[in-house]
Assembly symmetry: C2
Homo-oligomer: 475 residues x 2
C-alpha cells in the first residue's frame, strides 16, 4: 500500500469509528500532514482518493468534510458506532516530548506526576531509613516474584477501599504501572491481536500496544468512560483479545465510570470471555470523601487484570506498581521472571513501612484537597483566558484537565510555542492512534498553585487566542 493510500485508510477508519461523523469537517491538509509527519502533497492525494470513493467532499474555501450520503450508503458501514483496528505509532512522539521537557525551570503542566512539594518526602525518607535498619541485607537480596510480602500485604489491605477482597498472593509487584500494563497485555495477547481502548486513551497504554506489535481499536467514550453499546458492537465485529480502561478519573479526560457501568462492563466481557485490563492508578485521588470502586470489585471469575501504582500519589521515583492478574497469575509471573526478573527490594520495603505507619490516608486527604482546589482554579482561569469556544473537563478526581480548543487550533503547534515560553503541556494527539484530538490539550496541575502557574495558564490562553486570530485572518 502506498503512503497516501495508508493515510486514506487511517482517516477512513476514523470516520468508521464515528470519530468524524457525516457532515463533520476533517482536519486541514496542513494539520493532518503535521500530525502524521508526512508531506502535504501526500495528504492531498489521500483526501482526493477518499473524495473519489465518496467518503469525503471538498467544499470551496472551507476544506474537506465527511460526505453524508457516501458514508451512509457505504456497504462496509455497520449501524451504530464501531471502530477499525489500527497499528499504533505514538512512541517516538511521546519520547521527543519527554526529552524536550527535561530542562530546568519549566512550568511543568505536561507530565501527569505530582511535584515533590506535594509529596511526603520526609516521611518516605524516614520509612526508607527504617527499612534499612530492619533489613540491613535488603540490598544484597533479590526480591523474587511476586515481590516483598510486607508490601503485598499493604496493597491487599488497600484493595478494600476499591471494593476488592485481595489476598497478598493475588498481587504481583511491578516496576511501576507501565510494567504492570505490559505484563497484563503480554499475558492475554499475541502480536497482531486487537486491543480495544478508550478514546482518548493514556499514551503509555498506546506505547505498550505499539511496542508489543498489537493493534488498537478506539472505542468512543463519554464522561462516564467507555461506551458499552459501542464496545458491544465492536466485540461482535472484531476479534478483540483484551479491553483496556482507566476506570476512575481517566487519563486524559478525568472521566469516572459509574458503578452500574463497571458492573455491566465486567458482565459483558465475562460473557465474551475477554479480559479487562483495568488501570486504577488515579482512584485514590477522588476529590470527594468516597474512593470509587474498581471494576475489579465486580469480577467473580478473574477476568479483570487490575493495575495500580504509587507513582501518581506518593513516590514516582520508587517505580513501584502492582498487578492483580486474576486467572492470568501464572503467565504474568512468568513474564515478570523473563523480562525484569525482580523489582528493587528497598523501595518495596520502604513503601511497606510507610503504608504500615498509617500516614498514607492523611497524605491522600491533603493531596486530594490540593488537586481539587488546583483544578477549580485552573478551570476558572482557562474559562477566562482561553478562546471562547474552549470546552473544559470537570473531573471529580485526579489533577488532569482536558481542554478541547476550537477546531482550528493545532495543539502540537501550541505545545511548541508553550515550550518556547517555558511551559510544558501534553498535546491531544498523544492520546489517539488515529491522530484524533489534534485540537485538544491536557494540563496537569499537580503542583503548588502560585503566581507562576497562574501566569503560565494565562500565557497558554494567549497563545491559543493568537492561533485562533491567525487562522481567522487567513480566511
Amino acid at each position: 500500500m502506498n503512503l497516501y493510500q495508508n493515510l486514506a485508510e487511517r482517516l477512513k477508519a476514523s470516520i468508521q469509528q464515528g470519530i468524524y461523523s457525516p457532515g463533520d469537517k476533517v482536519p486541514s491538509v496542513r494539520r493532518f500532514a503535521a500530525q502524521q509527519q508526512v508531506s502535504q502533497s501526500s495528504v492531498v492525494s489521500a483526501f482526493r482518493l477518499l473524495e473519489s470513493e465518496g467518503w469525503l467532499e471538498a467544499r470551496p474555501q472551507s476544506g474537506f468534510f465527511v460526505n453524508v450520503s457516501g458514508v451512509a450508503s457505504s456497504p462496509s458501514q455497520p449501524s451504530g458506532e464501531t471502530s477499525a483496528p489500527c497499528t499504533v505509532r505514538v512512541s517516538d512522539l511521546v519520547i521527543r516530548l519527554y526529552q524536550a521537557t527535561q530542562r530546568e525551570n519549566l512550568v511543568s503542566l505536561g507530565a501527569a506526576v505530582p511535584k515533590h512539594a506535594l509529596l511526603p518526602l520526609k516521611d518516605l525518607r524516614e520509612a526508607m531509613a527504617r527499612a534499612l535498619r530492619r533489613s540491613p541485607d535488603a540490598g544484597s537480596r533479590y526480591s523474587f516474584p511476586p515481590g516483598e510480602v510486607a508490601l503485598r500485604v499493604q496493597i491487599a489491605r488497600r484493595g478494600v477501599e476499591a471494593g476488592c477482597a485481595f489476598s497478598p498472593d493475588d498481587i504481583q509487584v511491578t516496576s511501576g504501572c507501565q510494567e504492570a500494563i505490559n505484563l497484563a497485555l503480554r499475558a492475554v495477547t499475541q502480536a497482531g491481536d486487537i486491543v480495544a481502548i478508550e478514546s482518548p486513551a493514556f499514551f503509555g497504554t498506546l506505547q505498550a500496544i505499539e511496542s508489543l506489535g498489537l493493534q488498537a481499536l478506539e472505542v468512543p467514550s463519554d464522561a462516564n468512560g467507555l461506551r458499552l453499546e459501542a464496545l458491544s458492537l465492536a466485540l461482535e465485529r472484531w476479534p478483540i483479545k483484551a479491553v483496556m480502561a482507566v476506570t476512575n478519573f481517566s487519563n486524559p479526560t478525568g472521566s469516572l465510570m459509574p458503578d452500574a457501568r463497571k458492573r455491566e462492563l465486567v458482565k459483558l466481557l465475562r460473557k465474551h470471555e475477554i479480559p479487562l485490563i483495568e488501570d486504577d492508578i488515579y482512584g485514590d485521588l477522588a476529590h470527594g470523601r468516597e474512593r470509587p470502586r474498581a471494576a475489579k470489585a465486580y469480577d467473580l471469575d478473574g477476568y479483570v487484570l487490575y493495575c495500580g501504582s504509587f507513582s501518581k500519589t506518593l513516590a514516582p521515583g520508587y517505580r513501584i506498581g502492582w498487578l492483580a492478574p486474576g486467572r492470568w497469575k501464572a503467565a504474568v509471573e512468568r513474564f515478570k521472571y523473563d523480562s525484569t526478573f525482580a523489582t528493587a527490594t528497598l523501595p518495596q520495603l520502604a513503601l511497606a513501612e510507610y503504608l504500615a505507619s498509617g500516614r498514607y490516608e492523611r497524605h491522600l486527604t491533603r493531596l486530594r484537597s490540593t488537586a481539587r482546589s488546583n483544578l477549580q482554579q485552573a478551570q476558572a482561569l482557562v474559562a477566562r483566558t482561553f478562546p471562547h469556544a474552549t470546552q473544559i473537563s470537570s473531573p471529580t478526581g485526579g489533577y488532569l484537565l482536558w481542554l478541547q480548543l476550537p477546531e482550528d487550533c493545532d495543539a502540537m503547534r501550541l505545545q511548541q510555542s508553550a515550550l518556547a515560553a517555558g511551559i510544558s503541556i501534553s498535546p491531544g494527539s498523544l492520546f489517539s492512534p488515529n491522530g484524533k484530538y489534534a485540537n485538544c490539550i491536557r494540563l496537569s496541575v499537580a503542583l503548588p498553585w502560585d503566581a507562576q502557574v497562574e501566569d503560565a495558564i494565562k500565557r497558554l490562553g494567549k497563545l491559543a487566542m493568537d492561533q485562533v486570530a491567525a487562522v481567522a485572518s487567513r480566511r
Copy 2:
C-alpha cells in the same frame, strides 16, 4: 505434528547440532521423559520413529545410540557441526526451581548471586544515605531514560577496564541485566527470528528468548567460548538475527573467550551485519590481576550491544544493570520507555555515590580473592567426593563451578534429593533448550566458606555416588 514427532524432531536437532555424536548413547527413556515432562510411552514412540528413520539404533540392555551410518548418510546433515533452531521451554522449570529454593536455611549453591556476607552492605547503606541527603527529592522524581547521568558517568569510566571507550551518552540504565538482555533482543529481533546462543547458555537468556517468541540455535562452545567455525557454518545455513554470548567467565561453564577470538567474533558478525549481544556480567570477577577485555572493545561500528550489571558483584537487590546498545540506541531507548519507562531513582544515585567513593576496586579485590579460594576448595572437594568420572571446570574468574557427572546420572533427580537434604543446586537442563546437559550441575560458591558448605558438597558427592551405584545395580 504429534507430540512424539515433536520430541523426535527435538532429539534429531540435538544430533544435527553435534550435541550427540554418532555412537553416543542418547538419554534413557525415563530421563528424557522427565526432562521433557511427557509420558515415557511418548518418548518410546519418538525413539522408535528415529530408529525407523535411521537416526538411532537400539542396543539390547543398553538403550538407544546415535546411528553412525544413518546420520552420516542423512541428506540433511551438512559437513561440520551446525545446529537446528528450536523453540525454548525452560521458564516454567526455572521458576519452579527458584520457588523451591526460597525457603530458609538452605545451603545455597544454586543461584549465581553473592551472599550478603561477601558484599559491602555498610558502605552501600552509607552511599544510600549520602544520596538521600544530596537529592532529598529523588523519591519524587522519575529517572527518564537513559537514566541518572551520575551513574552513567561511573559506568562509562569503568568501561576502560574492559577496553571500551564509553561516553555517558552511550549507556542506558536498566532494571538489572535481565532487562538489558530483553531490551537488546527486542531491538534487533522480531518474534520467530533465530538467535544463536552458546551451548550451554545462561538460562535467563533462554527465558528471554522464550518469552519473546524467538528461536534458539545452540552453537557448540569450548573452554574458549563460542566456537567460531561452528558459528560461521551456522551463519551460512540459517537466517540468524543475533548472537548472544557471555564472553568473560560464562554462565555456567566459566569459559573465557581469548582476545583473539573476541576480535574474530566481532569481525565475523560485522561481515554478516549481525549484532552481538554481549553479556559481561562476570568480567569484573577475574581471579588474576587483569580484567579481561570485552568483545565490545573491538567493535568499531556499533554492532555489539554490551550488557552489564552490579548484581553479581555488589548489590543484587538494587536491580541496576546497563546496556551500551551501539547502533540500536534509539530502539533500545524506545523499548525502555514503552516497557518499564524508568528505573528506580535512589538505587541509581546510591550506586553512583558508592562508585565515586573509589571503594568498588577494593571490594572487588576481596571478592575476587574469595571467589578464587572458594572455587579451589570446591574443586578439590568435588574431586575427592564425587563419582570418579566427574569432569570439573577450571574457571579463571567468577564463582561458578560446572560439573559433568557420569552419563547415567540424572541431575534433576540429584537436585531434588539435594533439596530434600537442605542444599540447592542448578541442574544442567536449565542451560539448554534441547534438554542437553541432563547429567551436569552448576554450583555457585559465592558464600563464606565454612564447615556447612564443605559438608553440603560432600553430601552432594554422596548423593551422586548413590545414583551411580543404583544404576549399576539395575544393570
